[in-house]
Symmetry: C2
Subunit: 253 residues, 2 copies
């Protein structure tokens, strides 16, 4: 019944770069992940124990543990005290993370296009004040975009940013993701809080997304924060459900 232990070839770990900027534990995690995807470590396989693995690779146990933890958090591995660490059965799928729809589409080989519907500076309404934590009535940048891939409209993106971004180059949004522009300005998003739901399409939305009025739409509201904890972006997005879904891996700790 118990799966046999899998001895990983040392080759997988030879060129670990101890001086470079990439942390050791992350290098190890990446190699393990690769081994899982290539089924060198097949579904259900048991890993060598942490101590042995560490010794064989010349790496301390905390570092090995942290590498393994990274994959546990991704839902690729499962640990049991007294037993060992095993590869989770079943297909893996990519997770919701802090990349945008734009980058999502790029990665899956589709060609994302963006049409800017409007971009205006306006006073913040109550919802925005609540979400971004800005002053009541202060100016915010309000951008509406239509995102398509391979010619088919996928989503309407409605984004609001605080006053210091009113000088954002709107034209650049046609070929770049909003998050890419923010990164270029030195802003890195670290935390996002999202609500995912559904509702029926309005007439305008139906027209833009080529869906009949009243058809089902997937919705996502998000507030994103930078590394100092400040709210940077509030977005209300609607997606055509046949063309986009959210994939999430949940891990109990």
């Amino acid at each position: 019944m118990a799966q046999p232990e899998h001895q990983l070839p040392v080759d997988l770990f030879i060129d670990l770069d101890r001086s470079g900027p990439v942390p050791l534990y992350h290098q190890v995690a990446k190699r393990l992940e690769q081994a899982i995807y290539e089924e060198i470590l097949p579904s259900g396989a048991r890993l060598e124990n942490e101590v042995a693995l560490g010794q064989r690779l010349g790496i301390s146990r905390p570092t090995i543990r942290r590498a393994i933890q990274e994959l546990v958090d991704k839902g690729l591995l499962v640990r049991r005290r007294g037993v060992g660490t095993q590869v989770v059965h079943g297909k893996v799928h990519r997770n919701v993370d802090l990349t945008s729809l734009f980058e999502d589409l790029q990665r899956t080989g589709q060609k994302p296009e963006t049409r800017i519907l409007s971009a205006e500076t306006e006073p913040a309404n109550e919802t925005v004040v609540e979400a971004l934590g800005v002053e009541v009535g202060s100016d915010v940048l309000h951008i509406k975009r239509l995102r398509s891939a391979d010619g088919a409209p996928i989503a309407i993106l409605d984004n609001i940013l605080p006053a210091d971004f009113i000088d954002l180059e709107i034209e650049a949004l046609q070929s770049h993701a909003l998050y890419q522009l923010l990164r270029a300005r030195g802003v890195t998003l670290r935390v996002a809080k999202q609500k995912i739901g559904a509702r029926e399409a309005t007439a305008t939305e139906g027209e833009l997304l080529a869906v009949r009025k009243g058809g089902a739409l997937l919705t996502m509201d998000r507030t994103a924060f930078d590394s100092s904890g400040r709210a940077i972006e509030y977005g209300q997005h609607v997606y055509r459900p046949e063309l986009y879904q959210f994939e999430i891996t949940v891990v109990d700790r």
Copy 2:
């Protein structure tokens, strides 16, 4: 501009139980979380540095770090090297985790009710074979339930479990969550992979959920795995979007 450092009262940490079964780092994390919710640590506040905090509490730095990490993963704190750790601005909300809808409703003070629509043993179809990793044509338990809260129907839950669960007490499902029953059998779910989408209601679904045919529904497909990585449950759920949404916090690491 920089937020003042917040000196936490030591009282918050006095009765840490070093001998009990609850890990120290988790006790510390809980106390910190409490302090954030009670706004003893207000939005944007800067924490004491890790070394000092550790010394004051008589706890080593790795333990303090792990406690803080727990809250970073929850989206409550943000760290910056060279700067410090700060409380994230903006309201916090609960996360999608490995609890079920039933427990969700209970926690928010609603009274969940379950009507069993059907519960049958049947051969696995292709989708199920793919999701659960069982043999083609082998028997599986197929349960359909209607979940309501305070009298209003919220969701249709369609669940499939492998053959070893065919002796599950169906009646118990009327007053307990599926996950509770599984736990009682010694099965602990550790990882779940979910897809969240939307679609239009069928006539049957509309009738059950008091929605018009064609109305928008929120959908969630999930495969859950136990601590040995084996697939335990495959579920296809549909929710009335006005009554249920998914809340997710995403953290970049």
